[in-house]
């Protein structure tokens, strides 16, 4: 009786494991000096086709870049960027991708599939970008939505919905506002010292990455 119970538990365990299969990413394209570091190991030079397993950190040098193939999504890693693949799994028709951007800038393309749904999260010390079927530029603090809709969160889960053409930013606890082009293109006139602007003090900038629960509710 006991043996039968153990056998049933083992079968369910194997089934559950197979349902949430761990996926591997790979380097699709690269240019210049790109390095990989698996957790607890030394840095090694990357090559096209190299497998990037969970916990691996990818680093690009000056004038270097790489394209990371994540199966149903693609990440263009720009020069002087370091990021870690935290999770890449597929379970019950959902591909869960989680990356941590340590420094630098990336462009993410999340493809919309007919059978698969995406739970794609890109985190930094300041914010989280959560998307499903979209393309955006992200450097940890600033985001520019290029295609589709992106949900952009700060560290206390304050959300800003961005559509193509929208930009936003946060320093962690700052509410992500819609950055009008006025901020970039029009306001050329000096308006006094930075203290009179309602910017958060340096102490509000967090030092560590904080895990933020993210709910993706997009088509």
């Amino acid at each position: 009786m006991m043996k039968r119970l153990v056998l049933i538990i083992c079968i369910f365990g194997i089934l559950a494991f197979s349902l949430s299969a761990q996926e591997n990413a790979s380097i699709k394209e690269m240019e210049g000096k790109v390095m990989l570091q698996e957790a607890g190991r030394d840095w090694v030079p990357a090559a096209v086709g190299a497998t990037v397993s969970m916990g691996t950190t990818i680093s690009t040098g000056f004038k270097a870049s790489a394209v990371l193939d994540l199966g149903t999504s693609e990440l263009f890693i720009k020069p002087l960027t370091s990021l870690t693949l935290k999770e890449l799994t597929q379970a019950e028709g959902t591909v869960t991708t989680s990356l941590e951007l340590n420094v630098g800038r990336v462009n993410a393309k999340v493809k919309t599939g007919e059978t698969l749904t995406h739970d794609f999260k890109l985190r930094s010390s300041f914010s989280t970008a959560a998307v499903r079927g979209t393309e955006f530029d992200y450097d940890g603090e600033r985001i520019a939505a290029l295609v589709g809709t992106t949900l952009y969160y700060n560290l206390i889960n304050q959300k800003r919905t961005l559509v193509a053409g929208n930009k936003s930013s946060t320093t962690g606890y700052q509410t992500p506002e819609l950055a009008e082009l006025e901020d970039i293109a029009v306001s050329l006139i000096f308006s006094g010292s930075p203290l009179l602007a309602d910017t958060p003090s340096p102490s509000s900038v967090p030092e560590k990455v904080t895990e933020v629960p993210v709910t993706v509710a997009l088509e």
Binding site: L181, F190, P200
Partner: protein
């Protein structure tokens, strides 16, 4: 001598090392030179304004911050003016696990309502800011009576205006101001909803008001509602309304009495950025403040029942030739700006041209904030055209040349009388700023 020199050098090195590790310090120099032209015989007046600002900020521990800013201003009307513009202590309490962030500011700092039309002024006080996943809350209480009079823009009553002209008065009007603001962001269809309540108590001493001709107390409160967002790509809008309540000194049936205020202000702004067309921006802005047809003077001029003139505390000043208060005024602005040399490389993006047309009307035939023709029943006040050339090659340095012409309604029966009250006015202003 050598010892003194060494001591100074050592002191400077220690100070610089200390400042590098503990403080951020900086400054700014702002210069404005302007020529105002008016009258049929063209009378010119020259305006000069120079301001040196120094600021300092530092973290004290992990969750405390201090910021200070002082300035020295030279102008032709006042040769020197020192001002403490900001002295802020901030304590921050981030609670990411509870999805909350609290901050408390104490000291002197700018306070603004969401429209910047009712309140946009430095004040001494306490501000509690709370952030939640769905909204931000601001609770503020402060006082204006410790600010210097010169840089203050709070002139709400007859007594405030008299103090402004008096050489014996050094400080700004005594007013206690409280504000509660709630910002529900990304609420629906990518819109933000703002709710605001502001209360202002006039703390002018009774002894200063014993003679009724010196004016009375003006107590006000405001209830505001606003909506803003970006319904389409590169298109933004704001729409808002304020209800103004309170009491004001009035002269009704031959005697001075305190009458109630029931006034309103509303506005909307549409902004479109066709970025690919030389970084263009098209702005359409409209604001209207209610007036009172039985007001013969702008401050405390009510002569019948309640006052319906909208009186804000101190909004952001307009950078135009004609700068009336929003009370009993309707202002429509259409502006277009572009960067004509944007395609010539990076430096071309630093140059911008802006043209603007402004139309001024008054909702009632009552008093406006400027000297006007009391016999006029016209609502058309005037038109202004402005041109602005801005060049900012570096984030720390910029030059701006602005010019504007205001054509008042001085026709027969117009709002202004020709020459005695107003003529065609022009202003050319050169502004450069450098921060370090």
């Amino acid at each position: 001598m050598k010892k003194v020199f060494l001591l100074i050098i050592t002191g400077c090195l220690l100070l610089s090392a200390f400042s590098l590790s503990a403080f951020d310090i900086g400054g700014a120099i702002d210069n404005q030179s302007a020529v105002e032209l008016e009258g049929s015989t063209v009378e010119a007046s020259f305006l000069q304004f120079d301001k040196l600002t120094l600021w300092l900020e530092s973290d004290i521990g992990k969750n405390f911050y201090i910021g200070a800013q002082g300035s020295y201003t030279f102008s032709l009307t006042r040769y020197y003016l020192f001002d403490l513009e900001l002295l802020k202590f901030r304590s921050e309490i981030p609670l990411p696990s509870a999805n909350m962030f609290l901050s408390i500011d104490a000291g002197r700092f700018p306070v603004t309502d969401f429209t910047e039309r009712v309140l946009s002024h430095p004040l001494d006080g306490l501000n509690l800011h709370m952030k939640f996943p769905f909204m931000n809350t601001t609770l503020f209480a402060g006082y204006s009576g410790l600010l210097f009079k010169e840089p203050s823009r709070i002139i709400m009553s007859k007594h405030d205006a008299a103090d402004r002209l008096s050489n014996s008065v050094l400080l700004a009007p005594s007013r206690l101001i409280g504000m509660a603001e709630f910002d529900f962001f990304d609420l629906f269809l990518r819109q933000d909803l703002m709710l605001n309540y502001i209360i202002q108590w006039d703390f002018t001493p009774e002894t200063d008001l014993t003679d009724e001709t010196k004016g009375g107390k003006l107590n006000t409160h405001y209830i505001g509602l606003g909506l803003g967002g970006s319904p389409f790509t590169n298109f933004y809008y704001d729409a808002y309304g304020y209800l103004g309540l309170g009491t004001t000194l009035s002269y009704i049936n031959g005697e001075y009495v305190d009458a109630n205020i029931l006034a309103w202000m509303a506005g909307a702004s549409l902004r479109w950025y066709p970025e690919k067309k030389l970084y263009s921006r098209i702005l359409l802005d409209f604001v209207i403040g209610s007036g009172d047809k039985d007001n013969y003077t702008f401050t405390e001029g009510n002569t019948y029942k309640m006052s319906t003139l909208f009186v804000p505390i101190a909004g952001t000043p307009r950078d135009t030739v004609f700068t009336p208060e929003v009370g009993n005024m309707m202002i429509g602005t259409l502006s277009y700006s572009l960067k004509p040399f944007a395609q010539l490389g990076t430096h071309g993006k630093y140059f911008q041209v802006e043209v603007q047309g402004v139309v001024y009307l008054r909702p009632t035939i009552g008093a406006i904030s400027e000297d006007y023709n009391t016999a006029s029943d016209s609502i058309y006040v005037g038109t202004e055209a402005d041109l602005s050339l801005n060049y900012r090659p570096f984030s720390d340095f910029g030059v701006s040349l602005n010019g504007g012409v205001f054509i008042p309604n001085t026709l027969t029966g117009g709002v202004f009388l020709w020459e005695t009250q107003r003529t065609v006015e022009a202003k050319i202003k050169l502004d450069f700023s450098l921060s370090f």
